[in-house]
């Protein structure tokens, strides 16, 4: 599949579906080491994003992602709102004005998005945040020979990265208040990022 307006729209719809479906799971993960709202937040935000996507035509893939970004920023709140908002805003900027992008363009957009998240949140790998899913996924995509492989490897890498957050002691976000007690729990934001890669593989792959 090409990466264009329609497939990215499909991606966002699938991601919204994942957030609705896994809402309770994300709430449970966030209850253990945070304040129990990550699933509710992401679901609320992605529902609003779909509303906006439905109500106005989008010029291109970049416009789709910017619309999602603005919806998240103005309806999610918390840490996830600005972080996912920034991710999609940066990615959208990279894709703006282009009908279709290839592997390089796609990976470049992720690289920009990741940079945005790290600039806003100041998290490094190992801090037990969504960055721990993003970094290995983007790295894996950069090594991939073609888009399909990139999409699949990103899912695997994000899944591993997410699982790797379990033994970590959180140093950023709400979980950091728990200190040692945050160990042994999977990070909710990394988990939602894993679902983002999964829906990308479905919508943009093969």
């Amino acid at each position: 599949m090409p990466v264009n307006r329609d497939t990215v729209l499909d991606w966002m719809r699938r991601f919204a579906g994942e957030m609705a479906e896994h809402r309770a799971e994300l709430v449970r993960l966030d209850t253990a080491i945070g304040d129990g709202d990550h699933g509710t937040n992401m679901d609320r935000g992605m529902r609003k994003a779909l509303e906006r996507l439905d109500s106005a035509d989008q010029a291109d893939a970049g416009a789709v992602l910017k619309t999602v970004a603005m919806a998240l920023v103005s309806t999610v709140g918390g840490a996830a709102g600005p972080l996912y908002g920034t991710l999609f805003l940066q990615m959208g900027g990279a894709l703006a004005g282009r009908d279709e992008v290839d592997l390089d363009g796609y990976v470049e957009a992720w690289r920009k998005g990741l940079q945005g998240v790290q600039t806003r949140g100041k998290a490094e790998p190992g801090d037990k945040t969504m960055v721990d899913a993003l970094v290995p996924a983007v790295d894996a995509m950069e090594r991939a020979p073609d888009l399909d492989t990139a999409l699949k490897e990103a899912v695997d890498a994000a899944e591993r990265g997410t699982r790797d957050t379990i033994p970590m002691v959180a140093r950023k976000g709400r979980a950091s208040y728990l200190g040692e007690r945050s160990r042994g729990h999977q990070d909710p934001g990394a988990t939602s990022t894993y679902y983002l890669y999964r829906s990308a593989a479905e919508a943009l792959g093969g």
């Binding site: 945070g34 129990g36 999610v76 709102g81 600005p82 972080l83 140093r171 950023k172 709400r174």
Partner: protein, 333 residues
């Protein structure tokens, strides 16, 4: 989950409707984006004070809007920081030409959202300053972490800065005073029971019949550790001890002692706690000049309490005593 609500996702909206019905003579409510603002805002020539944060901590912040305290408050969803568009709208609504101060509790979400809002406000030519509260000694602090949470000091800071702003002090002065309040205040909290957010419907943590949670935040986050239930005297020691040692508060210091209920604790227990805190401070030669006892920064129906001590100077005392006329704090008017 049993709550006096109509639906989990209507709580914030419905409560705002109640606020407007109850205090419409003094507050104006905007629903989209959601914020509560003094009916006479913007006050010409006065620094505008904007705070905000997740809902579920009432009366903070909406209950502190009014003459002598905040000009506007932005409620997020329950325990979720509000969004930049709310804050931007509130900032515009209270800008009386002397600049606007954002009062921000140190949580990743609050900080990032307020950052974006401050950028937006400045983009519109409004002078915006921010003060961060991070008074919770239960949280380990380091260069590499998110740092300490903002808790009880926030209430005191909003009152004291509110007094200064009403006194037409400059934005720089009010911000400096706010930072001084934060620097001289320390808090710690504990829970006897968890709370249940309307959206999740489940307890924020599980506690045994004989367990208490020490070092909790105000969002149902678990604390630093749990232990066996103890007497009020021991709990007071457990909380006030680390607070006193942290600043540290020394013999001869004049303080404001704030015993705060987490929402579900009967007032009679808060007075028992206050009695213990007063004794403990007395033993160390620390002098309580002012006090506040009650449910002011809460976690829904959680049972438990937090203690906040603020080392006072004359300016703080003056603005603490200054008139305030809000639903949550009212005196001198």
């Amino acid at each position: 989950m049993k709550k006096l609500i109509n639906a989990p996702d209507a709580v914030v909206q419905d409560a705002l409707r109640g606020m407007e019905a109850a205090h419409g003579d003094r507050l104006r409510v905007s629903y989209d984006p959601a914020f509560v603002v003094r009916v006479d805002a913007p006050v010409e020539g006065k620094v505008g004070l904007v705070s905000g944060g997740g809902s579920g901590h009432e009366p903070m912040h909406g209950g502190f809007v009014g003459p002598g305290m905040l000009d506007a408050a932005c409620p997020g969803e329950v325990f979720t920081s509000p969004t930049p568009d709310q804050m931007e709208a509130a900032t515009k609504a209270v800008n009386g030409g002397a600049g606007v101060l954002h009062i921000v509790k140190n949580y990743t979400g609050d900080v990032m959202n307020f950052d974006m809002a401050a950028d937006l406000g400045r983009g519109e030519g409004i002078e915006v300053e921010s003060v961060l509260t991070n008074d919770d000694v239960a949280v380990e602090d380091s260069l590499y972490t998110a740092g300490r949470r903002g808790v009880g000091v926030t209430v005191l800071l909003e009152k004291i800065c509110g007094g200064a702003a009403e006194d037409r002090r400059s934005l720089a002065d009010v911000a400096e005073l706010g930072r001084r309040v934060n620097a001289n205040g320390r808090s710690m909290g504990m829970a006897l029971t968890p709370c249940i957010t309307p959206a999740s419907g489940d307890p924020s943590f599980e506690l045994g019949d004989n367990e208490i949670e020490i070092g909790i935040g105000i969002h149902g986050e678990p604390g630093r550790f749990r232990e066996e239930t103890r007497s009020a005297a021991e709990v007071a020691e457990r909380l006030a001890g680390p607070i006193v040692d942290d600043l540290p508060f020394n013999s001869g210091d004049r303080v404001l002692a704030f015993v705060n209920g987490m929402g579900g604790t009967p007032l009679i227990e808060l007075y028992v706690m206050y009695g213990e805190v007063a004794r403990l401070l007395g033993d160390r030669g620390i002098q309580i000049e002012r006090n506040l006892i009650g449910n002011y920064i809460t976690s829904l129906e959680m049972q438990g309490c937090s203690i906040t001590l603020l080392r006072l100077d004359d300016e703080m005392i003056r603005y603490w005593d200054a008139p305030v006329d809000t639903p949550g704090l009212r005196w001198g008017v």
